[in-house]
Amino acid sequence: MCSTDIHERRPVLEHVEVMANDRLAQGVGLLVMRAPRIAASVEPGQFVHLRISMGTDSILRRPFSVHRVVGDTIEVLYQVLGRGTRDLAGKRRGDAMDAIGPLGHGWKVEPGVAHALLVAGGLGAAPLGMLAEDLAGRGVAVSVALGAPTAERLVARALFERVARRVELATDDGSAGEAGFVTSVSARLLERDLPDIVCVCGPEIMARRVAEQAADAGVRCLVSLERLMACGVGACLSCVVTTKSGRLRACVDGPVFDAEEVVWDGSEVPPRH
């Protein structure tokens, strides 16, 4: 994974079939789709752009990080936030959609990395699931700081506990792990585990705080960023992220960026898809 030949893995437009669509928590679902071509080539941190509705009312696709690959299926996590994800929650086994993928640049964790700290806030766990499995498979020690509003919403907890050396939790209400923000967990793990790299995804205010913690500790930090997106292939310039090299496209230049490159200019928004 995270190899240099990522440019050779071109995206395809693939018809996908829903294999399962399970409610994991209030407003959170796990969608399993049969997508052999995408499953065969997707790298951790990449995403698929799903055409949820074939009608002309809601016209735009919605991007979802690939959470896991199992055989010829891909899994995505979603939170019902708007029209697109509401429609997605209504999909049943056997329903067809089409997906463009794999898209974007994922996590680039070099072969020399011995210990990685993954920090996930809420649905930020989505692009980190596949990474955790991949790193563990390569013999990298993985620590995970996982946060969510409630214990029920720690949706990828079982996956992380299966493959990571250490998983520490934080919830807003204290129903699992410590009560508070995941950033206090990440601060502690940074100090204790001395990781070679930090990979973070979650609400931007939290990702930014983790990036600052990593910078203070002198540890490289990669961050997966979310933006409202139309085309997903680099044409429309909807999803730009402000970086030291100008405004780059989350869909093709990201969604994973080197945190040092990101200019946290407040242009992030909670996507209401």
Partner: protein, 316 residues
Amino acid sequence: MDPKSPRATDASSQVDLTVDMAGLKLRNPVMTASGTFASGREYADFLDLSRLGAVVTKGVSLEPWAGNASPRIAETASGMLNSIGLQNPGVEAFVARDLAWLAGHDVPVIVNVSGHTVKEYAAVVERLDAEPSVAGMEINISCPNVDAGGMAFGTDCTAAAEVTRAARAVTGKPLIIKLSPNVTDIADIARAVEAAGADAVSLINTVLGMSIDARSRRPRLARTVGGLSGPAIKPVALRMVWQVASAIELPVIGMGGVRTAEDAVEFMLAGATAVAVGTASFVDPTATIRVIDGLESFCQETGVAHVSDLTGALVL
């Protein structure tokens, strides 16, 4: 048909899809709408660019433009708003990187040109005139998302004519003026640019609109207002294409919600010589090819020998 396959050369297909538009011979009347197709490279994974009538590029300005703050888009009923703000790397980077790539793809390249001032427009046109791989230029006097220039030139007959004259003075290549729907009488603007030396007009650019999040009480776009596109604007676009085609002699390129071959036919019946597919490419990256294949089928099924016979064939 696989959109990545070269065009079928089926001798039994009697339909002539070629069109003459402002001195350009196009293999079919289906083009890309500026700003929805970048410079083609982003879509080359999904379709064979040489099947398109033309690629119309994202707007290019004299200097690099950073564009607007995010969020830049909002989905609305049957459409979307955008306020990208013409982010682009400037004409020199465009020529070196995008045009050089596109030039090898056997498709006419029409470069969309943006500016803050008449001088800037003319400077970009003059620079592009020197590039043999530029088949024509489309002058964007209708972008609702920039503070200076853009739509300001497209909503005033005198300013629209001035930009057209300045561009005309520095190029002999086909010159298309892209018109704004955000005007009282679009036919007046069309007449003004015709008199000033344009070779064709394209319309419509996006319709100025707004979306608000009721709970946060905030506009959904960082810039508050933006341009509406997609199926929602098709009736407005059809009406304006019909009005303009009735008012001037120049060829009209029709766009605004073109998603299917029947949409394209409707625009041609209203008077368009060619059409452009825009927002539909975001939804389906192969939308242009579907429209081209569908046009051919439509003509076969309805006994139309030359697709250009549809232009202005509206029955009233």
